[in-house]
Symmetry: C2
Subunit: 343 residues, 2 copies
DNA sequence: CGACGTCTTGAAGAGTCTCAACCATGGTGG
DNA sequence: CCACCATGGTTGAGACTCTTCAAGACGTCG
């Protein structure tokens, strides 16, 4: 898609020849004879850059810049003055009003191209589009630096339903579950988080009170990032909004899958699924078999059932040689076969 | 919090006096004697603005700008050249390299302040923070204009699981459900949408194939917005990312609530809840009672149960004078009492 | 060693699903 | 105009899963 350039200039010769040169260079040009038309065209076409003379009838360049800056739709369009006014004071006034460049006439074509392209580069890099390949991690790291690291003991509650969210959390090392509590006290875990995960962003994102609880499952080290810093980064850094939009939508996807299982899968299948989930998130060894340590209550909360039922299922699985039990540790003998449990 | 200004200038007098003036004005200043130190300080302190001389030993101003632009952390910091080089060619070179302003020495303090403040204003407005009060609706409207409106018949499928997402959808008028299909064919509705709702954004947001299906419940009019336009708006417009982050997190919240109910509430309670949901989303009359038309299958999908069970529950509700039935229309007699169903 | 918390096992019962038959409605074609 | 069928909705009975309550086993820690 060609970049759109709006040229606002009262001198017919300069306007037409500039437009012609830019057309040749592959830009799509719009031209305006004076400020009023220029502002209209800017609003209508939302060009990618605006070149504007200062001395014009009807509405001068300063006025154009002022009006465009006032409107949020046009405020971020790069704005270059092209003018015969080469006095220092004029240039300062233009820049102080928020122009991005100030090109004095007469200028040659190369100067013009370079000025335009330089502003495009600039815009692209501040909006972050395109150049954020390895950038994301750097920005997230920066965000994490805004917070303070804190060791948190086993089974400590980090936040509870109804609290006002004040922080975003990032797990350096450890395990955290988020869960909801049913009227009668039964719990349902919606998510497990571990090293390298952010959590607690959902309530921050929609500005309401927490709708779930979070607690550690083992001793952990967690960074608390103040809400204000998170919000600033979320809205002003592409990399951050992209990351969290990804996290949010991934979260929805997981919940959708879990809901379908809750509705129609047998407890047997759901227990198997929960074991797999815990194994992939919390296990250290990665061969086909692996060992996990989790209380029956936590497992039951994950499955959405009574802990007795979990016990029975684990006993069944043990009989079928899918798992082994030593103490409260569960040793999965074959992830593969566990995955293939039907019903 | 005071704004941080980094001054890179080899002339001791100018550097110190500039720093002094800015200190007085309430800025926090850092000074560097030449380019190398300047780049280090910039990376270390991430100042809010950088003032930089051009002619310096060790590393000149152009070099500083080049290095800072290469690093994503510093690329978006406003950069002003302050220099004795007043030649047109020098100024052009500076601006073409991506400087934000070019102040020639000698300059007076007012010029300096104005230059700095102008760049702060500029930064603030491009990052869009603050000025987006009534803006959101306008930007969303603009986004909707990118798509084409289409009438869609009753019970038409809009997308299915596994499809490649190509559009964002917006309902002008109508009713749409999204649902997942269990292995054996049973369905579970995750969401109901109606006039004024966007849907289908979740899969676009995380760039994977659809994980659910969408179908109309009545004849509807729906705008299809191409993915490419949505992505552009999502990443480049504050208002749009804010809106969809809100939608995504609201969605998570709803699903969390629904999951808890699926896990621990009785079918009776869930049917009541589903009726309420349908009533609030699709009903036209708004008194305490209202009428809804929905098939038993759709209701069953919403509850996550068999349609026979729904029938039985509705019969119970009718006996208890909570609802009335005429054909397949359900007439809710008291939303209030339906809400208060326990267990 | 006993006390406590956690886990396991047992038996009874409630709740929900499945299968099947039946009813109401509305549209279709002879 | 009416018999016919298709569809969606309702009702019944039995089966099955899972929960609940209760008691016992295990392991850990003072």
């Amino acid at each position: 898609m060609n970049k759109k350039v709006l040229i606002i200039e009262d001198n017919d010769d300069i306007r037409e020849s500039t437009a012609e040169v830019l057309d040749l260079a592959g830009y799509e040009t719009f031209t305006a004879k004076h400020g009023k038309v220029g502002v209209d065209l800017a609003l209508k076409h939302l060009p990618d850059i605006i070149l504007c003379d200062i001395m014009m009838p009807e509405l001068d360049g300063y006025g154009v810049l002022y009006l465009l800056n006032k409107n949020p739709k046009t405020a971020s369009i790069p704005f270059i003055f092209i003018t015969a006014k080469s006095e220092r004071a004029d240039m300062r006034k233009g820049m102080e009003m928020g122009a991005d460049d100030y090109l004095t006439k007469p200028f040659d074509d190369v100067e013009l191209f370079k000025a335009i392209e330089s502003r495009f580069r600039k815009k692209q890099q501040t909006s972050g589009f395109g150049t954020n390949a390895g950038n994301t991690e750097a920005v997230l790291e920066e965000l994490r630096k805004k917070g303070r690291s804190k060791p948190i003991g086993n089974k400590q509650i980090i936040y509870v339903e109804g609290d006002e969210p004040t922080h975003l959390y990032f797990i350096i090392k450890g395990q955290v579950k988020t869960y909801k509590r049913f009227k009668d006290g039964r719990e349902l875990s919606s998510n497990l988080y571990h090293d390298g995960d952010f959590f607690g962003y959902e309530s921050l994102c929609n500005g309401e009170l927490y709708s779930d609880n979070a607690a550690t499952l083992i001793e952990s080290e967690i960074i608390q990032i103040p809400k204000i810093d998170f919000m600033e980064y979320l809205l002003n850094h592409q990399a951050v909004s992209k990351t969290f939009i990804g996290l949010l939508s991934g979260n929805i996807r997981d919940k959708g899958k879990q809901m379908l299982q809750l509705a129609y899968s047998s407890v047997r299948k759901r227990v198997a699924e929960a074991l797999l989930q815990v194994a992939t998130k919390f296990s250290n060894d990665t061969s086909d078999g692996c060992t996990i340590r989790i209380s029956r209550d936590d497992l039951a909360a994950l499955v959405g059932t009574a802990s007795e039922t979990v016990s029975r299922m684990l006993a069944d699985f043990k009989d079928e040689k899918l798992i082994d039990k030593t103490g409260n540790a569960i040793n999965i003998l074959s992830l593969e076969r566990l995955k293939n449990i039907k019903q």
